[in-house]
């Protein structure tokens, strides 16, 4: 015997629900339809299913109405983008393009030999110049300023305890340019925003174009309608 049979029929709750959702085969659907016609209790159950479905639909519609317009636009945009992406993916050929470095390497193919030769010449030049700079007489001219650590012992006070570890050199910036350059205003660190701005508007004139004030408690936005035509756009929240 089938469980949860309704009335005098052999139709179960699950089968009735499947019939309501249109999930039954043709033969089963015809059988359930005949049973609904014949049995009043089953017909009542079926009508209640329809009523329940309507209530759920109404509740969802009401919830949807509570979604802010901005959120709705966001969701709609995502759907649009997903559809556009799918369409683009379907229309694009599946050819794998070479990487950017591969294309650069191919473009410079005629210049490879001269470039390598130039690099070799530059390396030789750097090596020769470096050998020249190793001259100790020249090296002293390039040091800006090195100050010894205060813990360095005086030459006359050497107690013969062996060589002291070389103090780390401290290089100071030379005072050749004493002018203090203030930082660029745009390089200042951003201000840490408090949780609540607590904006109070005392007097406001929004000009000829109009506008509106929005305050969420966290942020206050003054909407200025610079282009009157955009007041009716979908971005007018």
């Amino acid at each position: 015997m089938m469980r949860d049979q309704i009335g005098a029929t052999d139709i179960s709750d699950e089968m009735l629900a499947a019939y309501f959702d249109g999930e039954l085969s043709d033969a089963d659907a015809e059988r359930v339809a005949a049973a609904i016609d014949a049995d009043a209790e089953l017909r009542g159950e079926f009508e209640q299913l329809g009523l329940l479905g309507g209530l759920v639909q109404h509740g969802l519609a009401r919830k949807a109405n509570q979604v802010p317009q901005a959120r709705f636009e966001q969701i709609w945009d995502e759907i649009d983008r997903a559809i556009a992406n799918d369409a683009r993916t379907a229309s694009e050929p599946k050819e794998i393009s070479p990487s950017i470095w591969g294309r650069v390497w191919a473009a410079f193919k005629p210049l490879r030999v001269p470039a390598i030769a130039a690099a070799a010449a530059a390396a030789v030049t750097v090596y020769v110049v470096g050998q020249d700079d190793s001259d100790p007489n020249k090296a002293s001219d390039t040091v800006v300023e090195v100050t010894p650590s205060p813990s360095t012992p005086e030459p006359g006070n050497d107690d013969g305890a062996g060589p002291q570890p070389m103090p780390a050199p401290v290089t100071k910036i030379a005072d050749a340019n004493p002018v203090v350059v203030p930082p660029e205003p745009s390089e200042l660190a951003p201000m840490e925003v408090p949780d609540a701005s607590g904006v109070e508007i005392h007097n406001i004139d929004l000009g000829g174009g109009g506008g509106r004030i929005s305050n969420t408690g966290t942020v206050t936005v003054l909407y200025l309608d610079e282009e009157p035509a955009q007041a009716d756009s979908e971005r007018s929240l």
């Binding site: 745009s186 925003v193 904006v199 109070e200 005392h202 007097n203 969420t216 936005v221 200025l224």
Partner: protein, 175 residues
């Protein structure tokens, strides 16, 4: 009897003086506090971040605008998927002189410090249209130091991105 009368008169006089002086002293103290607070702030530093909010892309909030995440995450901005810092301008305003900000969009903003009530800075903001022909905004407002007031401008395009331009205005005491 005379002694008692003298004593009573003195007490009456003392009560009368106390009744008159106490409110005066209290009011004076409050006024002094306010004037001290207002006098203490003669200069304010104002930062204005011009932010392009776009419905396209998936950039979200870049690191340069991370400090505005709480504000940009509000439902007011839910429709926008990408935010770009167009420019940041800092300037100082005093009780005597307004700070002027000229933006890439052509809009000009003028901020002038009006005072400080101890808790909030009072400022006057004036913004002109892109061609400078008309005033879009003239407002006096109070705001906590470093608080954000967002001014929403019109459509703008920068670096290949298009969207709506927002100006995030912050001011803090600077002397």
């Amino acid at each position: 009897m005379s002694y008692w009368n003298n004593n009573r008169n003195k007490r009456l006089l003392a009560s009368l003086l106390a009744g008159v002086l106490a409110p005066t002293v209290a009011v004076g103290a409050v006024m002094a506090t306010e004037s001290t607070a207002e006098a203490a702030t003669k200069k304010a530093r104002c930062d204005v971040h011009a932010v392009l909010a776009s419905k396209a892309g998936e950039v979200g909030i870049p690191p340069t605008l991370e400090f505005l995440r709480q504000q940009l995450s509000q439902d007011e901005f839910a429709v926008y998927k990408s935010f770009y810092l167009v420019e940041k301008i800092s300037a100082k305003t005093t009780l005597e002189k307004a700070a002027d900000f000229k933006f890439k969009s052509g809009n000009q903003l003028s901020l002038k410090l009006l005072g400080d009530d101890g808790a909030k800075l009072k400022l006057h903001a004036k913004m002109t249209s892109r061609d400078g022909a008309s005033d879009l905004l003239n407002a006096d407002y109070s705001i906590v130091p470093k608080g954000v007031l967002v001014i929403a401008g019109g459509e703008f395009e920068d670096g290949g991105n298009s969207g709506r331009l927002f100006f995030a205005v912050q001011c803090d005491r600077a002397g």
